[in-house]
């Protein structure tokens, strides 16, 4: 198991399977808030849904509708269970606050280099701790 240390953005704890992208994500015009699916045309996650996943990504981009669209995803039951990300911005901070899901940033190592899609991620946001169980380890168990 790998343990990352960071800073709480939104408190609470959550665990789930990681969905990882090295590309920033748009809210309005980038996701479908009914299903949690990425819709941006040239995005590497296009067609994939973050519903019930731990979303691991560099940060937010695009429209100021970022928070409203993740907010709506929560109301529709399509939001991620938690967030792990690198770059703070007002879009992402407000978006995660209104999504009410645990979120951590400012890590001692780059989560994008450690976590891969399919790994199991446990977030204890109040302590700023993210535990990662690699997919291979999970299979062995």
């Amino acid at each position: 198991m790998i343990v990352l240390h960071g800073r709480k953005v939104v408190g609470g704890s959550a665990q789930g399977e990681a969905l990882v992208t090295s590309q920033t994500i748009s809210g309005w015009g980038g996701i479908d808030p009914k299903t949690g699916t990425i819709i941006e045309l040239r995005h590497e996650l296009r067609g994939k849904s973050f519903k019930d996943k731990i979303l691991v990504f560099p940060g937010a981009k695009g429209s100021s509708g970022w928070s409203a669209f993740f907010h709506m995803a929560r109301l529709n039951g399509a939001a991620p269970r938690g967030f792990v990300f690198n770059k703070m911005s007002t879009k992402i901070a407000l978006g995660l606050v209104v999504t009410h899901a645990p979120a951590v940033t400012d890590f001692d190592r780059d989560p994008l280099k450690v976590i891969e899609t399919g790994d199991w991620v446990e977030i204890d946001a109040d302590q700023g701790i993210v535990k990662v169980t690699k997919q291979a380890e999970r299979l062995l168990k």
Binding site: R7, V9, V10, T24, G29, G30, I39, E40, L41, R42, G59, A60, K61, G62, S63, S64, G65, W66, S67, A68, H71, L75, K87, M88, S89, T90, K91, A93, L94, G95, L96, V97, V98, A103
Partner: protein
């Protein structure tokens, strides 16, 4: 966060439940950012009026007021308790919203939703929200002065506010602008601080950049590479104007998240290249030449295959009156192709100017329409049966295919008007 005594009183509910909920959200948001305090603002641009099918259903059952109060509580304050929306405390403007009843028959949108937009305008207007109904508040009188602390949404307006006007705002959202309108407060973080406003990347422009299309392509390329850092542009740039910088910023805030840029000698915080970078050194120098321009053009046209054009969409961000005139001039005496529709979108206050100056008549005589308040990407409304769109907007070409599934061609205004008249796309890069 450190709160002043006044802010603490708001948080304790001394100014009522709505203000209390607003302050609770600002504290959660400020803590998430790592902000140390809030800053006073008397210039808020947000989004409160947009009706949704959910609000409409609720309005039918529980009444309009209850639905609008509930919608504001959830989407503009993140409050699960329904509050009654009070009058706003500070200068607050409504940004782009949905189309109203004046557009009935031009698309297949529900009449009930169009009417609900009008009801919603009245409800929030009565509470002191100026219904500017545009993505370009700076075109219709909200022109903040250099150094003014603002709380604006709308990525294309935010980048214009910071870069061209020298006022200070982060990219706010529906919830934070709702809270700011009731408190006159916003987290003091990011672009509110002088030291965060210096350039990070130098962009050497090596291909002549002059036309509206040139500025859109440059913005789209720079945004994709630089993401949300601060580019400083120099090189073969002609003197831009409002419309060109409006297009440039909107493009850069779509492919990436640019909230501020400098053009030494043009933008107010960069009298020189040294002042643009201030205490920072460029972390990277990019060159933008013919090849990079081609890449931006190809990316913007990546959704398009069919050259038969159903719909020509102009005015994203909303057109200036000069842009409306440029289009009218190209359409004068012509007729649109029988299978092709054309919409120009401009703020309603500028539409009044277009009517008065005779431009609306020219456009309508050719078979086109001038609309206000919204856009196809926001409203998800287009002329019925639209499959292929042409636009002169890099922002709309970026978002429209993703949101609505239509193919979208991007090109110059001349390419777009040609397509409207012939029904065929023949645009290209010189």
């Amino acid at each position: 966060m450190n709160l002043t005594d006044t802010e603490k009183m708001m948080l304790e509910g001394r100014e009522g439940l709505a203000v209390q909920k607003a302050m609770e959200l600002l504290v959660r948001y400020g803590d998430a950012l790592g902000a140390e305090r809030l800053v006073d603002t008397n210039n808020v641009c947000g989004a409160v009026t947009a009706p949704t099918p959910e609000k409409m259903e609720m309005a039918k059952i529980e009444g309009l007021e209850r639905a609008l109060n509930a919608g504001f509580s959830e989407m503009n304050l993140d409050s699960d308790v329904v509050i009654e929306v009070p009058r706003v405390k500070v200068y607050t403007c409504q940004l782009i919203q949905r189309f109203g009843p004046d557009t009935a028959g031009l698309h297949d949108g529900s009449r009930e939703l169009l009417d609900l937009q009008e009801d919603s305008d009245k409800f929030f207007g009565a509470r002191g929200v100026h219904i500017m109904a545009t993505c370009t508040p700076y075109q219709v009188g909200n022109v903040p002065v250099k150094g003014e602390h603002c709380a604006w949404m709308e990525s294309s307006a935010v980048v214009y506010c910071n870069s061209v006007l020298g006022a200070r705002t982060n990219t706010e959202g529906r919830e934070s602008t709702g809270a700011a309108s009731l408190t006159g407060k916003i987290p003091y973080w990011g672009y509110h601080l002088k030291e965060n406003r210096f350039g990070t990347h130098l962009v050497e422009v090596e291909v002549p950049t002059d036309s509206m299309m040139d500025w859109g392509l440059l913005g789209y390329y720079v945004g994709e590479i630089i993401q949300d850092d601060i580019p400083v542009l120099r090189g073969l740039l002609s003197q831009p104007d409002l419309a060109k910088l409006k297009h440039f910023g909107a493009a850069a805030a779509s492919s990436g998240g640019i909230e501020m840029y400098h053009i030494p000698g043009v933008t107010p915080e960069a009298p020189s290249i040294e002042s643009a970078f201030g205490t920072r050194k460029p972390v990277q120098t990019l060159r933008y030449g013919k090849q990079e321009r081609r890449i931006a053009y190809a990316n913007l046209n990546s959704s398009a295959r069919d050259r038969n054009i159903d719909f020509v969409m102009l005015g994203c961000p909303h057109d200036s009156i000069e842009q409306v005139w440029q289009t009218a001039r190209l359409l004068d005496g012509k007729r649109l192709h029988s299978g092709t529709e054309l919409w120009i979108r401009t703020p309603r206050a500028l539409r009044e100017l277009a009517d008065r100056s005779g431009y609306t008549k020219i456009v309508e005589d050719a078979g086109g329409h001038i609309l206000s308040d919204s856009c196809p990407a926001i409203s998800r409304l287009m002329p019925g049966g639209t499959k292929v769109v042409a636009t002169d907007s890099a922002k709309q070409a970026h978002y429209l295919p993703a949101i609505t599934g239509v193919q979208t061609w991007f090109g110059s205004l001349e390419d777009c008007v040609e397509a409207a008249v012939t029904g065929k796309w023949s645009g290209g890069l010189d």
